[in-house]
Symmetry: C2
Subunit: 366 residues, 2 copies
């Protein structure tokens, strides 16, 4: 969907609101509810999704009037940005829309109120608009940080320019905000390797591991952003490539894997476009400490926070697999975590053998 | 310097140590001291530098023996990595070298000691080796996170592949670990614009600001890493391009600018290769709040940490310019900071006007 189409949808929505006012009806908007209670685990699709609940945001409701005003304001800002051909960041929109409304009540007293106080408020209405008009903010041309980098046998086209990520030497291709505007021209890869850590990504690039393996290697430096998740999903969906995720052996790493695979609670309304349900885990597990003979010297004691997070994972529906239950319980019993770099105790080249071992012998968790 | 040359220097150093042992002399190494007291502000070159102090690390000194062992161990690990053609991360080297030394004293008692406990220790010896053999860890082939992204009229060559950063569409070129291995083939830019924030970088890319201005735009997402600093420096030094740094209007943003320009205390021994003394500041200053009519609604109250940091800046020799003293004192008086996105209160396109205004009218701080 291009920006013109997004603009058409936004204008249509605005016109409907204007029409009700002109017909002296109370303006109201219907928006899918982005609440925890409306976030459901879709077992068949293996991803988090937004449920069927919708909220009705009315103008003549004291509790809703402020939100209503904010939504209309943001609608206007985004429509203006599209018309002017600018690509504001979410923070720009916050500042651009923030102002003080001063009004006088029937008794002559003056009141004032800010359109919004914190960016949380303006971000929330951007998300409401996303679900209401069914367009990603990236498609609306709203900018945000982008973390993803790519190398490997994939050719993309962006604004007419063709970029072959197998011809980047020691550099890498940095993903754009709106991955859907990319054309993926050609992929000649056997799999996609998603790496949690940037430094490991750099190693594998410099050692040309991707070229030996025919793999597309991607990193988002820790918790993935929307652009990186969308790119991984597109490679999986459009080119049927297997996706393997390599993280540290701790609850944070396992959670990062699950965000690629199943989505996150906060962005459940985007899972349908961002999640990669077929992604497999090839990072370190609790039992790998024995499996790969990583001695106590290279293992780190889990913190209280790790333990708390592991207990949370156990409760998530998307970790309800016997393999995960076994691994997480083993972690909770031993309280030991292990980093991917600990494999270097077996030599600086062992990382390659480890990745190949996990993939070739199917030693991954689904 | 390529890896073969680095290896030669490392081997030479190791051979000298071995020779003294074979000749029954006490092995010792001389290393420039990376201490605060040996960090000097070079007023003429306008950068932080390491002074002339050197430490003599002797093997038969109880206080030095552990450090001596660590240095020799790291020397061996890096030499091995070069010989094997691998590019370990600093964390890989930590794990690869970490082990327990068990020994028996003359009275038959067994003692054990780890080669190093934390990564701080292994990182410190990497830095010692850098200054001792005068080679960057990047040149040694040690990997680390890379943050820098580039777009604009610059053509580089990496491992034989030519990359034209003006033909990246909405994507960007992600810098490599070792910027010195890049050949900068051609630059047809009028200036280099370094942007603190990634989201602002994305905006300027999508709005093709760089193309309207003929500018190379670079971001390192906040505090710059070594690769980004080295790349900015090379553009400035080899192509005589003016460099402008755009940050938020707060002590952290001003400090980021100074790291690009003058170097950091921690890495003062690298300033000669990483600093860009000619860089100009075009971010927001304390007086810009009036100058660009940014109303109270868009200004943020400074925290105690901001105030503390501002007082530190006042003491640094590289902030001893009347303009900086005035701005920092004004900040300390008003205790107000302002983000670059606050300019959007004057419209979503105002950012472009602001950058042009600062550059064209010379409204920068040197």
């Amino acid at each position: 969907m291009d920006r013109a189409e997004v603009l058409r949808r936004l204008e249509e929505w605005g016109a409907r609101l204007a029409k009700s006012i002109l017909e002296l009806e109370e303006p109201a908007m219907e928006i899918p509810a982005r609440t925890l209670s409306n976030t459901v685990w879709d077992e068949r699709a293996r991803m988090l999704r937004l449920g069927p609940e919708r909220i009705r945001r009315r103008f003549l409701d004291v509790k809703e009037a402020r939100k209503f005003m904010q939504t209309v304001l943001m609608l206007r800002l985004i429509a203006e940005a599209i018309r002017e051909g600018v690509y504001p960041t979410i923070r720009d929109l916050y500042y651009n829309g923030k102002h003080t409304i001063i009004y006088r009540d029937p008794w002559g007293r003056t009141h004032s109120e800010n359109t919004w106080e914190e960016q949380d408020e303006s971000n929330a209405v951007i998300e409401d608009i996303e679900v209401a008009v069914n367009a990603l903010r990236e498609e609306m041309g709203v900018s945000a940080d982008v973390k993803g980098k790519v190398v490997g046998p994939v050719v993309i086209r962006s604004q007419g320019y063709e970029l072959d990520a197998s011809k980047f030497g020691e550099t890498a291709l940095s993903l754009p905000v709106n991955v859907d505007a990319l054309e993926i021209v050609k992929v000649e890869a056997s799999y996609v390797l998603v790496v949690e850590k940037d430094a490991i990504f750099q190693r594998l690039v410099r050692e040309r591991f991707w070229s030996q393996e025919g793999a597309v290697i991607i990193t988002a430096k820790g918790m993935p952003d929307r652009a990186t998740r969308r790119f991984v999903r597109r490679l999986s969906e459009e080119f049927k490539l297997p996706v393997y995720v390599l993280t540290d052996g701790d609850p944070y790493g396992w959670y990062i894997y699950s965000v690629y695979k199943s989505g996150s609670i906060k962005l459940s309304y985007e899972s349908e476009r961002l999640a990669t349900p077929g992604a497999k885990f090839i990072g370190l597990t609790a039992s790998d400490i024995d499996e790969y003979k990583i001695s106590d010297n290279y293992v780190i004691a889990a913190t209280e926070r790790d333990v708390k997070r592991a207990r949370e994972l156990l409760r998530y529906p998307w970790f309800q697999r016997p393999e995960w239950a076994r691994e997480i319980n083993l972690f909770l019993k031993r309280r030991k975590k292990v980093e991917i770099e600990a494999l270097s105790t077996h030599g600086l080249k062992f990382l390659h053998d480890y990745i190949r071992d996990k993939i070739r012998r199917g030693k991954f968790i689904d």
